[in-house]
């Protein structure tokens, strides 16, 4: 299948970027990233610089790949990362627009590669349970209801790809942050420090320059792991209750 690609090229965060058009010959069994490999190999053959994009596991689990494809983070399929998207979902002769994530908190490094380190710093601000190695009681010491464990898992399934931020017109990281807050707060092990955690993580999120949430819910639609916006409601509730009972001003 012959395709036209309009790809965002940008040398670095300091320089201006622009779209450039390319022709590529793909086949329907290729994954989207393999199609870009083919494009890049062709560019290298022509002694041009290939398009920089991030990817690693190509199994939909590491969260490295991103890309905004025809205006949608990770492309048109629900619950699918870019690496798991295959070319059979595109049509012969189609023009595909490929951009990096666009969010104030994610500056472009090069072409389609952005800096998502603010997400790491949100986790560092409290997205953990404070337990040192060796301190743990027996794994079966705390029974956890199957449904509760399952809901915690649903939140923990977040791969940290940042699609929620890219999908949000406000560039908000509420879905990402609330998924971690929910994962840990739902479990008895995480309950002990949940007030401190939610306050600290929300403040870090604001500090990183992410926008506010205005309940548009595009994040949930685009999330490749289908994380629910219920987590945002849960985080808001916990945040308010923690703030009311807190000395912090």
């Amino acid at each position: 299948m012959k395709l036209t690609l309009k790809i965002w090229r940008q040398k670095s965060a300091q320089t201006k970027g622009a779209f450039e058009s390319y022709q590529v010959d793909a086949n329907e069994h290729m994954s989207f990233l393999e199609m870009l490999d083919v494009l890049n190999e062709g560019l290298v053959e022509k002694r041009q610089e290939p398009v920089a994009f991030e990817h690693d596991c190509r199994e939909g689990i590491c969260g490295t790949c991103n890309l905004v494809i025809n205006g949608r983070p990770h492309g048109p399929l629900p619950g699918t990362t870019t690496c798991q998207l295959h070319m059979r979902h595109f049509k012969e002769g189609e023009t595909i627009v490929i951009e990096p994530y666009r969010a104030q908190a994610f500056p472009v490094i090069k072409d389609l590669v952005v800096d998502r380190s603010p997400l790491d710093r949100i986790i560092q601000s409290g997205g953990f349970i404070s337990v040192n190695t060796g301190q743990a009681p027996d794994g079966n010491a705390i029974p956890i209801e199957k449904d509760v464990a399952s809901r915690a898992f649903d939140a923990a399934a977040c791969i940290g790809c940042g699609a929620c931020v890219a999908a949000c017109p406000n560039g908000s990281a509420m879905l990402f942050t609330s998924a971690k807050v929910s994962h840990l707060a739902l479990l008895p092990q995480g309950e002990v420090e949940h007030n401190r955690r939610v306050v600290s993580m929300v403040h870090q999120m604001d500090k990183e320059g992410f926008g506010m949430c205005s309940n548009i819910k595009a994040c949930e639609v685009e999330c490749p792991k289908e994380i629910s916006v219920t987590n945002i409601a849960r985080m808001n509730r916990q945040y308010f209750s923690a703030m009311i009972g807190s000395d912090e001003k």
Partner: protein, 665 residues
């Protein structure tokens, strides 16, 4: 040079307990002044960095990813073993130890494996405390399942995403230490050289992948937790960026590789679909619990399928060859990975492969769907002779068990595995070989340690399912915090290592020269094309089965390819910039050398064991033939560049286990 594995004296059960109580420690006031570099942030690296940070050392952690959470440990699906015996089915530390040594075809070190089995129970506790959402029973307690041919249920799991959840647990612990300032995190930094001062590992040269700048980082000790080298085959289930460079740079500085030819080929992966293919995707071993593996008995049926005139569901039951059930009646479809992979290769080599390339077999769930469907109909009091109803009910059960895997299969191949059997073929998955380490996980270079898949120590010639996660976390959480003591307790008077030492200068210059060389060749071929060619040589001659003649041919081919590489590769872009092509070029250059060493190792080992199958050494029925009299040793190689590598042998002593022929008939 004499290799000393430093195995503590005493009975197997006492070794680790006594060692922990008597090992030299570093006092808290001294720990603050001691710096440790950890390269890699997968299960082994993240857990080591976090645990050492908690102890008070000043840790510098490095990853080439944009975040420590991306490491390929994340992709492990099935589970993690632990000798908890929660299932009350007779499991014990000894049984896990025994299964691991036997599964590894008696080519691993008893003392290390026993310690691994001992600490396995602590790992589960630690992970639960961190909030890892393991599968649970209705009573709220942890659930287990069975895995890979063992006779107990000792595998803990978190849906099909166990690796992801364990890694996030370790990443969160690491993040906590980063916030406390005990761990300094360097994302997007790739280690390109190891720095030795007075024979001890004292730092690394790392390239900042965003700016291209080479940086010097010093420490009292260096830990490598940089994973396996399966990508030497180009196509593997490894992530695209997995590489051997950190370990191979250490080899260039004198560290030795052990058993490099021991590679695990996983039997159930989605087959190659075309020349453009970048990687292969694993379908979890758990599928073999319910899936039956077969090919058609008749060549004309094979032809029909390949040409698309026949569909697998058209082939009658009596015209199917369920070859694993036929050859291994005792274990059937659940034989270990090495055995299942070889059997698939044999039927395909005989011309029974079921896709266009002839390299695929069927993994069929039809009988499981029927069995589960009938049982459901019976339970619900419905008509179990209604075929459509039974099918519907059965598909539902299969969906509950393997839904995410079936979905992934359909996304990739575009065919629905509920209606038509999956097509699978073996693919490179894990490397049992790695840097040689002693009981302390220290390489032959003082102060250089290797953890997780990066070292060779625990899996012998074949790794059992759900044991990679166990080893990574054991090494990082529970072994290295103790075993780094003997080295660091001798360093408490050593002041902070300075990066202006001439050794750093030399290493940085050598690294720059190497990268400049790659940039300046300006040849006609892409890095990718060389990597693909290297992969094919490795797969054809040093893959699922090997023979002396082929290995000799492959060695010549690789040498020629390497020569061509340094004359004709083209790397676009600049050194002083974000340049993924240059990263790849440096990694492929290292794979070219490692590949040769793997071949030399495979040539040396005149026996078949585990994942290493030499065609000359097999029984009349085509089973692996081990040679315990001559090869019960670890092959430890000193790489000498263009000269022949030198072999050292670490004899393996089995004092607690009797060596037997593995039989799955």
């Amino acid at each position: 040079m004499k290799l000393d594995a430093k195995i503590p004296a005493g009975s197997l059960e006492d070794k680790w307990r006594k060692y922990r109580s008597t090992v030299n420690l570093v006092a808290p006031n001294n720990k603050r002044r001691i710096e440790v570099i950890v390269v890699g942030t997968g299960l082994a690296g993240a857990s080591a960095a976090a645990s050492l940070g908690e102890l008070g050392y000043h840790v510098k952690a490095f990853t080439f990813h944009d975040s420590p959470r991306r490491a390929h440990s994340i992709a492990a699906q099935g589970g993690i073993n632990a000798a908890k015996n929660y299932s009350n089915d007779g499991d014990s530390v000894y049984r896990l130890f025994y299964d691991t040594v036997k599964g590894g075809d008696y080519r691993s070190r008893e003392a290390n494996v026993y310690r691994l089995a001992e600490v396995s129970v602590d790992i589960i506790d630690q992970c639960v405390a961190q909030g890892v959402p393991f599968a649970r029973e209705y009573g709220g307690l942890l659930e287990n399942r069975s895995f890979g041919g063992v006779q107990v249920s000792r595998t803990f799991y978190a849906r099909g995403q166990t690796g992801q959840q364990l890694l996030i647990g370790a990443y969160q612990s690491l993040s906590r230490q980063i916030s406390l300032g005990t761990v300094e995190m360097f994302n997007r930094h790739e280690m390109l050289d190891l720095v030795l001062i007075d024979g001890k590992a004292r730092g690394i040269i790392a390239r900042n992948l965003v700016t291209g700048k080479l940086e010097r980082h010093a420490a009292h000790a260096v830990i490598l937790a940089t994973g396996g080298y399966g990508n030497v085959y180009y196509l593997s289930t490894n992530a695209m960026n997995c590489n051997v460079t950190a370990a191979w740079r250490a080899v260039q500085r004198g560290a030795m590789m052990a058993n490099p030819c021991f590679t695990q080929i996983h039997p159930t992966c989605i087959p190659v679909s075309g020349a453009y293919q970048s990687k292969l995707t694993l379908m979890s071993e758990s599928l073999r619990n319910d899936g039956r593996v077969w090919v058609p008995k008749k060549k004309e049926d094979v032809e029909g399928i390949r040409q698309g005139t026949l569909s697998p569901v058209d082939i009658k039951e009596e015209d199917r060859d369920y070859y694993l059930e036929r050859r291994y009646p005792a274990f059937g479809n659940l034989v270990p990975r090495d055995v299942a992979s070889r059997a698939a290769k044999q039927v395909c080599d005989d011309g029974f492969g079921v896709n266009k390339s002839g390299l695929a077999v069927y993994l069929d769930f039809a009988s499981a769907i029927e069995r589960y469907g009938k049982s459901q109909a019976h339970q619900q009091g419905l008509d179990s002779s209604d075929k459509n109803l039974v099918r519907k009910l059965g598909e539902k059960v299969v969906e509950q068990k393997y839904g995410n895997l079936f979905e992934m299969y359909e996304k990739i191949t575009g065919t629905n595995p509920y209606k038509s059997p999956m097509m699978i073929y073996p693919a490179v998955h894990y490397t049992m070989g790695g840097l040689w380490v002693d009981y302390n996980l220290e390489t032959n270079v003082p102060g250089l340690f290797a953890l997780g898949e990066c070292n060779f120590s625990d899996h012998g010639a074949n790794r059992l399912g759900a044991s990679a996660l166990m080893q990574g976390l054991a090494d990082g959480y529970f072994v290295i915090p103790y075993t780094i003591g003997p080295f660091l307790s001798g360093e408490i008077r050593t002041p902070a290592i300075k990066t202006d030492a001439p050794e750093f200068e030399e290493a940085e210059n050598a690294t720059r020269a190497r990268l400049e060389k790659l940039m300046s060749i300006g040849g006609s071929r892409s890095v990718e094309s060389f990597h693909r060619e290297l992969g094919l040589i490795m797969w054809d001659y040093c893959g699922m089965s090997r023979n002396a003649e082929g290995l000799n041919t492959a060695r010549q081919k690789i040498r020629a390819l390497r020569e061509e590489y340094w004359k004709d590769v083209f790397v676009p872009g600049s050194m002083d910039d974000y340049n993924p092509e240059l990263e790849k070029a440096a990694r492929v250059a290292d794979f070219m050398e490692l590949g040769e060493l793997m071949i030399v190792d495979a040539l040396n080992r005149n026996e078949s064991c585990g994942g290493h199958f030499r065609e000359e050494y097999q029984t009349p029925e085509g089973e692996a033939l081990r040679d315990d009299a001559n090869y019960t040793y670890v092959s430890v190689w000193d790489w000498k560049g263009d000269a022949d590598p030198q072999l050292y042998k670490e004899e393996l002593k089995f004092e607690n286990i009797e060596l037997k022929t593995r039989s799955y008939k």
